[in-house]
Symmetry: C2
Subunit: 150 residues, 2 copies
């Protein structure tokens, strides 16, 4: 399976799980152990000023927790959930916006170890959201948890 196919499948998968992603045309553009990126185009997401709506920006930042979670942790029967998220809106976004985040190997090891011992573990993901020109349009800090799903 090529990486390109893999991202297409991930995109189709998250859109099937959460249909509002389909309405936003959310696309997974990178996924791997300790990293995730997703993007949204302006068209279905803009407001009447032509700027991408806050809720769509929130979404492309928030979704990283699920993408990273499912592609990173070596844990059986656990799911990532979002506990809280803060987003700062820094510039209007009028082109495709990409959100990226990563987690260090040490932090991944801590989370996996804690989750196996306690049945759950919290972790923080920060993401920058940039437009096509590289301008940071928003920044997110989300608190997630991997939790045993019985």
């Amino acid at each position: 399976m090529t990486e390109e196919l893999n991202l297409e499948q991930l995109t189709a998968g998250v859109r099937a799980m959460i249909p509002i992603f389909d309405a936003m045309q959310l696309t997974v553009v990178d996924a791997g152990r300790g990293r995730a990126a997703a993007s949204i185009p302006p068209a279905p997401n803009v407001n009447h000023f032509g700027a991408i709506y806050a809720g769509s920006l929130f979404t492309v930042g928030e979704v990283l927790g699920g993408i990273l979670g499912f592609n990173t942790f070596d844990l059986d029967g656990f799911i990532p959930i979002v506990k809280s998220l803060e987003i700062k809106f820094l510039n209007p976004a009028t082109s495709t916006v990409t959100a990226r985040t990563s987690l260090s190997a040490a932090e991944i090891a801590r989370i996996e170890s804690e989750a196996r011992e306690l049945g759950r573990s919290e972790f923080v993901l920060t993401a920058e959201l940039t437009d096509e020109a590289g301008v940071v349009v928003a920044a997110t800090e989300g608190v997630y948890q991997v939790r045993k799903f019985v």
Copy 2:
């Protein structure tokens, strides 16, 4: 114009301004000087577990700033914008979720006075999001600004 018609028109208005609200079937359920409420139904907003997706909950909380802003401030040529928002997810939401917020008369007076003097004024809105049983499923704290729109 009856209040019912007014809410219908407000709902149609915000959906026309921000089409993703239409995809979420977001509805304005209360609006007046110093108060706003909006709701979203589960159907287009649920994930594969049947719970309303985080980004839809964010949206029904965030939109209150615009609804309250446009229906509260006695300011010409100003628009409300969102600067940042923190949302805490407290319980899964599986029925229609309603977000409500309000602003005191003293706070409204401060914002109007500051905006007229400086061309902009910041304000904070907190909202509780409750499901049909009255359970608080999320809580938001948003920082907004009314800004002279030239």
